[in-house]
């Protein structure tokens, strides 16, 4: 390439600032979260109530083969919290679409994907906050873990991947929704998925058909992997199945979310 051509290209190309733009977007939606703390409370209160209910009401009658039912229950509760949390991501995306804020951003010289990534990072941060709150409550309720730093990091990694996967699903819902209620409603089935898994009771107590579903849906492998890591037990295959599910869902949902976003922006 000749020198002249290079200088010409430089003047004609608008410089992109991916990272600083994503930082601005993240800062924006983090303000949304800190200014509506009730969303964090809503996200954490239901799983905490469920945890209390299962531990102190049903727990005595449930035979899991473990001494400490809080330890058994916690992974499933965390997944329920994340499934609740991402419905707010869908809602925030829907609001942006509705108010014309996407239009403003898309008519500016910033990379279009930064707008979505801002929301995705926000979802990761806010869900991490609710997960920490719930773990603290679980500690008060008697949750104990012999796991070392590496196992905890692995747990954090799986939860982050799970959040990422569901966040992209939420993005499809938020971008495609016709109403605010519709944007949030998609997460109900996700919230219930842990009930038909090994999150609350071992799957061998279930009838054959339910059991087959429970053992082969993503939540069970994720729950089992997290449970084993927290108990400092060998995780076996579960962790790979869990990772495969999370990555698979992320990739498929990402493709559809970007398509939905482009359709909106186009």
């Amino acid at each position: 390439m000749t020198m002249e051509l290079q200088t010409e290209m430089r003047t004609e190309t608008v410089k992109k600032h991916y990272f600083s733009d994503i930082a601005v977007m993240l800062g924006r939606s983090m303000r949304h979260i800190t200014r509506s703390l009730d969303t964090i409370i809503t996200v954490t209160i239901m799983p905490i109530a469920m945890m209390l209910l299962f531990v102190y009401v049903f727990g005595g009658a449930i035979k899991t083969g473990t001494e400490n039912y809080v330890n058994y229950l916690l992974p499933g509760i965390l997944l329920i919290a994340i499934a609740t949390g991402i419905s707010y991501t869908a809602l925030r995306l829907f609001t942006d679409k509705q108010r014309g804020i996407f239009e403003r951003f898309n008519s500016m010289p910033i990379a279009r994907s930064t707008v979505l990534w801002g929301h995705v990072l926000t979802s990761l941060v806010s869900n991490a906050i609710s997960v920490v709150i719930i773990i603290l409550v679980a500690l008060i309720m008697g949750f104990r873990s012999p796991a070392g730093i590496l196992s905890w990091l692995a747990v954090a990694g799986i939860l982050a991947l799970f959040t990422l996967a569901l966040t992209w699903v939420a993005a499809i819902a938020g971008l495609g929704a016709k109403s605010a209620d519709g944007a949030g409603a998609f997460s109900y089935p996700l919230v219930f998925l842990p009930f038909i898994s090994s999150a609350f009771v071992p799957t061998d107590s279930m009838p054959a058909v339910v059991r087959a579903f429970a053992e082969n849906q993503p939540v069970t492998s994720i729950v089992e992997a997290i449970r084993a890591l927290l108990a400092d037990q060998p995780v076996g295959n579960n962790i790979w199945v869990a990772l495969a599910w999370c990555l698979g869902i992320t990739i498929v949902a990402y493709i559809f979310a970007i398509r939905a976003y482009k359709r909106n922006a186009a």
């Binding site: 733009d21 108010r99 014309g100 898309n106 010289p109």
Partner: protein
Amino acid sequence: MEKTIEVKGLQKSFKDIEVLKGVDFEVKRGEIFALLGSNGAGKTTTVKILATLLKPDNGTVTVNGYDVLAKADNVRQSMSLTGQFAAVDEVLTGRENLVMIAKLRHLNQPGQVADELLKRFGLSEAADRRAATYSGGMRRRLDIAMSLVGRPRLIFLDEPTTGLDPEGRLEVWKMVKELSKSGTTVFLTTQYLDEAEQLADRIAILHQGKIIVNGTLAELKSLFPPAKVEYVEKQPSLEDIFLAIIGKKEEKVN
């Protein structure tokens, strides 16, 4: 005079519906250009194509010398869009909204830019209140202020006064006139004839997917038979009465 916008043979369909059937017009630098048309005439579609949000099916569209398809980023750099609905973030304060846009435009002193615009648009006192608490007129002013961050050479206003009360409407008109005085080219769409008459240097009427008339107000007037002189008793309109009473009240307050 330099052309800020050049549109030739612009066509756009949504599925089977032909919205724009070969639209041609030009906007000169520094003028206020009004695109007039009834609801569903294709005004917003035209604005969205000019602002790179929609792609044209056919025809050539250049904005500030850049083709909207080939040089979309350059177009985005050189203009600002104020959409039909005030695109402000209601959770953020007025100031935060402006700072956010200034950062996204990569200006050096976002805080200072925000303060200047807040002052210019009479929003200094409300600067630290959430935009959700603003009145319709204030929200629209903030919206337009956000579009002026980074001093774009061209600004699109898509139905800027739809849904505003009479006072809000006058506020926006005043602002558009000031903008034009400072050298910014203004492209506005409206369904209100008096708005075009008040503001525009040049008016184009979009009807059934085509520009049917295009010219200055004087040129448009000359298309019709010469004015007749009639004696009509001029009653004050409800708008005149409303504004007079409101104006008096405000004087008392001051």
